[in-house]
Subunit: 476 residues, 2 copies
C-alpha cells in the first residue's frame, strides 16, 4: 500500500520545518559571531574548489553534513559583507526582515513573468515601487498611475541596459532610415562600468560612446557635452542616450542633472540617471537637493540592495513613459497569451526587463518597508552619515592623512600624505590583517582609499577601532 509514497527523497513539510530551523539557527549564529571572522576571506585561489570531491555524489547525504561543510569550508571562503568592519566598495545589506521576505519568495517558488502567473507578485511590486516614489520624494511621473512606472531589476547594470534599449528603439522608430551605427551615447570616465557595458551590449561601438570630460569635482562637463552633441549632429549622427550619475562609485560625484536634462530634453536625447548607491539617501528630505532635475529625466534607478536594508537583488528602475519601455522589451509568443494580458488591464513585468522569468523580488522590500517604516529608514541613513562625519574629522585632524575631497554622504575619500605607494601599502596591510576591509580608487592619478561606513551593524565603536587600525598600519 505504498502507492502514494513518493519514490524520490523529497523533504516532508515536517522535515523541512526541522531543517529550516537549523538553517535559521546557522544564520542567527553567523550574525552573532560575524565580528570574529576576518573581513576579507583569507583563502587562496582553488582552495575551496579542491575541498570537495571532483565527482558529484551518487547518493544523497544528510543535510547535517551539508551544514557542517557550510560552517567549515564555505564561511571561511566568504568575504563578510555584513561585517560591521566592512568598509569596501559600497555595502550590500541583508537585514533580517529582508532575509525573511526573500525566504518567503523562495518558499512560494512562483514565477512572476506575467500578471496571471501570480498576480500578487506583480501587484506588490507595483505597490512598493509606488510607495518608494513617496518615500524618496521622487517625481510624480514615475508613479504607476501616471505616464511612467517602476519595476524591480536585478541590478543597475540591467536598468541601464533596459534604458539604453528603450532609447535606441525610440530613436530608430522616429528615424526609419537610420541604423544603429548612426546613434551616439554619452557617459564620462566616472560613469559606472555598467554604463559602458550596457551600451556595448546594446550594440554601440566604441566610437559611438562618447566619454564626456569631467570637471575638477569629477562631474560631467556640460560644455563638453554640448560640444560633443553638436559635433555628432554635424556629422549626421543621432544623439540618443545620456547616462548621468548622482553619486559616482569612485567619489560620489553628482553630475549637474538640471543642465544635462535641459540639453537632453531640447535635443530629444534619452536621459537616464543612475543613483545606484546614493539614491537611498533620498529617504531623508535633507539630501533631496542632490536629486534636483530628476523631474526631467527619462529614466532613473537606485539600489535598495546597496544601502536600504534589502537583499541583493533589488534595483528599482523608473521610466517616465512606460509605453516606450514596454514596446521595446515585450515579445509575446502564443504560449504566454492570456485573457488579462490581452485586455491590457495589467502589467506583465517580463516586458519591462531583459529576461522572461522573474522571482517575487518585491516581497523582501515590502517586508523591509513594513518593519522599519519611513522613520526607521531615515534613522538608518542618518546613522551612517554621522559615522562618516566623525571619521572625516579624524582625517582632517591627522598629521599623516588627508582628505582627497570633502566627504559626501558616507563615503570618505582619503590618502596618506606620503603619496600613492604608501597609501596602497597601508590598504594592503589593513586588508591582509582581516580586521577591516577597504577598497581603493584612482582619481587624477592619485591612489585614494575609500572608507564607507555603511554596513548595517557598523557603530561608533567600529569606526573608532578602524581608525586605530589605519593609524597603526601607517606607522608600520
Amino acid at each position: 500500500m505504498q502507492k502514494n509514497k513518493p519514490d524520490v527523497n523529497h523533504l516532508t513539510p515536517d522535515q523541512f520545518r526541522q531543517l529550516g530551523y537549523q538553517t535559521i539557527d546557522l544564520i542567527a549564529d553567523y550574525m552573532e559571531n560575524i565580528e570574529s571572522y576576518p573581513v576579507r576571506s583569507q583563502v587562496n585561489p582553488g582552495e575551496i574548489y579542491r575541498s570537495f570531491p571532483q565527482h558529484p555524489p551518487v547518493k544523497g547525504k544528510p543535510y547535517d553534513e551539508v551544514l557542517n561543510d557550510v560552517k567549515s569550508v564555505i564561511i571561511p571562503g566568504l568575504t563578510h559583507w555584513q561585517s560591521p568592519s566592512f568598509y569596501a566598495y559600497f555595502p550590500s545589506h541583508a537585514s533580517g526582515p529582508s532575509i525573511l521576505g526573500d525566504l518567503l519568495s523562495s518558499g512560494f517558488g512562483i514565477q512572476g513573468m506575467l500578471w496571471s502567473t501570480s498576480p500578487a507578485c506583480t501587484e506588490i511590486e507595483t505597490l512598493v515601487v509606488d510607495w518608494m516614489v513617496q518615500i524618496c520624494g521622487l517625481p510624480r511621473k514615475f508613479h504607476s498611475s501616471q505616464s511612467g512606472g517602476g519595476v524591480i531589476q536585478d541590478s543597475a547594470s540591467s536598468a541601464t541596459l533596459c534604458a539604453a534599449i528603450a532609447a535606441r528603439e525610440k530613436i530608430l522608430k522616429a528615424n526609419p532610415d537610420a541604423t544603429l551605427s548612426d546613434l551616439t551615447a554619452y557617459i564620462t570616465d566616472q560613469t559606472h562600468s555598467s554604463g559602458e557595458k550596457g551600451l556595448k551590449i546594446a550594440g554601440f561601438r566604441n566610437d559611438q560612446v562618447r566619454k564626456i570630460r569631467v570637471d575638477e569635482n569629477f562631474r560631467m562637463d556640460v560644455d563638453d557635452l554640448t560640444h560633443c552633441i553638436e559635433q555628432d549632429l554635424s556629422r549626421n549622427r543621432i544623439p540618443t542616450f545620456i547616462c548621468a550619475t548622482i553619486g559616482t562609485t569612485s567619489s560620489l560625484a553628482i553630475d549637474p542633472i538640471p543642465e544635462i536634462a535641459k540639453l537632453a530634453n531640447n535635443s530629444n536625447i534619452w536621459l537616464h540617471v543612475d543613483a545606484a548607491y546614493s539614491g537611498s539617501a533620498a529617504v531623508c528630505p535633507e539630501h533631496r537637493y542632490m536629486f534636483d532635475g530628476l523631474e526631467n529625466a527619462d529614466s532613473y534607478c537606485f539600489n535598495p540592495h546597496k544601502w536600504l536594508l534589502t537583499n541583493f537583488d533589488c534595483d528599482i528602475f523608473y521610466v517616465a513613459n512606460k509605453d516606450e519601455l514596454v514596446s521595446a522589451l515585450t515579445f509575446t509568443p502564443e504560449y504566454l497569451r492570456n485573457k488579462e494580458s490581452s485586455a491590457g488591464t495589467v502589467f506583465d513585468y517580463s516586458g519591462w526587463q531583459i529576461s522572461l522569468g522573474r522571482r517575487f523580488r518585491s516581497l523582501k522590500l515590502w517586508c523591509v518597508i513594513h518593519h522599519y517604516g519611513i522613520e526607521g529608514l531615515q534613522a538608518h541613513i542618518r546613522s551612517h552619515i554621522k559615522l562618516a562625519e566623525r571619521f572625516t574629522v579624524w582625517i582632517e585632524e591627522s598629521d599623516n592623512f588627508e582628505l582627497f575631497q570633502p566627504t559626501s554622504l558616507n563615503l570618505v575619500c582619503f590618502r596618506h600624505r606620503s603619496g600613492n605607494e604608501k597609501s596602497q601599502k597601508i590598504l594592503e596591510v589593513l586588508n591582509d590583517s582581516g580586521k577591516i576591509f577597504l577598497t581603493h580608487t584612482v582619481l587624477n592619478d592619485q591612489y585614494v582609499i575609500r572608507f564607507v561606513p555603511g554596513a548595517m551593524r557598523t557603530q561608533m565603536r567600529h569606526i573608532e577601532a578602524a581608525w586605530e587600525q589605519i593609524q597603526q598600519a601607517a606607522r608600520s
Copy 2:
C-alpha cells in the same frame, strides 16, 4: 550608557531566530496545505494593490502583522507553481534543500562579482557546474579545466543574450570592416521568444534575424538553414549566430543538432543550443541521445530552476571557449582591481554575465545535488516521465481527445476531437475551476492543450484526478 545601542530597529540575532522559525513554519504549512488552494489565483486585476494603503507606513509594524498579510492577501494572490495539480507552462521547482540553500545565500548577503569579493561564491559555482557536466554526461570541453566552462545565469534569456554578444564580438573582431548591421542570425518560429528578444537587445534588426522553416515535427529545417546562409553570404552578409533548441516550449521539438553543428562549424557560425527545459532529462542516460551533436556547439544552457528541483534563478550556461565570452563581457574599472584578478588565476564571474552584481546562486544547487545525489535526481525525472506515459495512454484510449503528437519526455500535447473552440473552452473551464491549471499553444493553426506533469509533488493520484476533471470539463 546607551552608546553602543543601535538607534535603528534592526533585528537582534535572537529576534531573527524567532521570526525565522515563524517564517519557516509558514512555508512548511504552505507546503502541507498546498492542495487546498485554487491552483490559478482567482483574484481580479488591482485587487491586491488596493488591499494596501496607498501611503507607505511611517512607523514600522510588528512582523506578526506582516505575516498575517502574507496569509490573508498574498497567498490568495499566488498562482501555485508548487501545487501537484500545476500542469501549466513548464514547472519551476522549489525543493526543500533548494529553499534552504537560497536562505543561506540571503543570510550571508555577499556579492560574488569578483573572486575576491567572496571566493566561496565563485569556487562553489565552478564546482557545481563542473559536477553538472558529469551528472548530465555533457561534452568534456564544457568543464572548467578545459577550454570552456560554465556559469550560473538568472535565466536562459540571459544565457542566449550572452551567447549572442560573444558571437557578435567574435565576428566583428575577425571582420574589422564589418558593422553590426552586416551580421545575420538564425532561429525558427519555435525558438523560445527569448531568442528573438536577446538578438534584438544585442542590436540585430528584424531583417538580420532569419526565421528558418520548421519541418512537420517543428524542427529546424536544415535545407532551409543552408539556403538562408548561402543567400546571406551572397549578399555580403556575415552569418554569425544560430540558436537551436533541444526541446521547444510548445512541443519539445528537437532541432537536428548534429547537422546544424556541421553547417555552423564549416561556416564559422556560433551555435548556441537552448535546452532550458529538457536539459534536466540528461541526468538519465536513457535520454542522452537527445543531446547528440552538442560536442560541436559553441554554447549550451539549461535550467535546473525548471525541472531539477532548484529555485529560480538558476540557469547553467556553458561555453566551449571561455575566453571568447569573457573578452566580450569584461569591463574592469579601477575600483574593482585586485591582486588575484590581475594575476589571472581566478574566475571573476561578473565578466561572464550581463550585470556586475551577483548572488551566491550556486549554494541552492549545491544543496540539491548533495541532498538528492545523482540517483535521486534520476528517480525524480523518471517519476514524471512515467506519469506522462500513463496520461498519454488515457488520451490515446479516449473517444473525445486525441494526441497532437507523440509524447516527448513529460509534455503531453493533446486536443479535443471537436477542434479549437471546444479545446479552448475546456481549458478555460478547467483553469477557472482552480482544481488544475494547464496552458495552451497553437501549432499549425491548431489549439493544443499542454499537460506537463512536472511539479515536484505530482503523483499518480493527482493525474488521475486531473484526467477526471478534464473529461468532466469536456462533457460540460
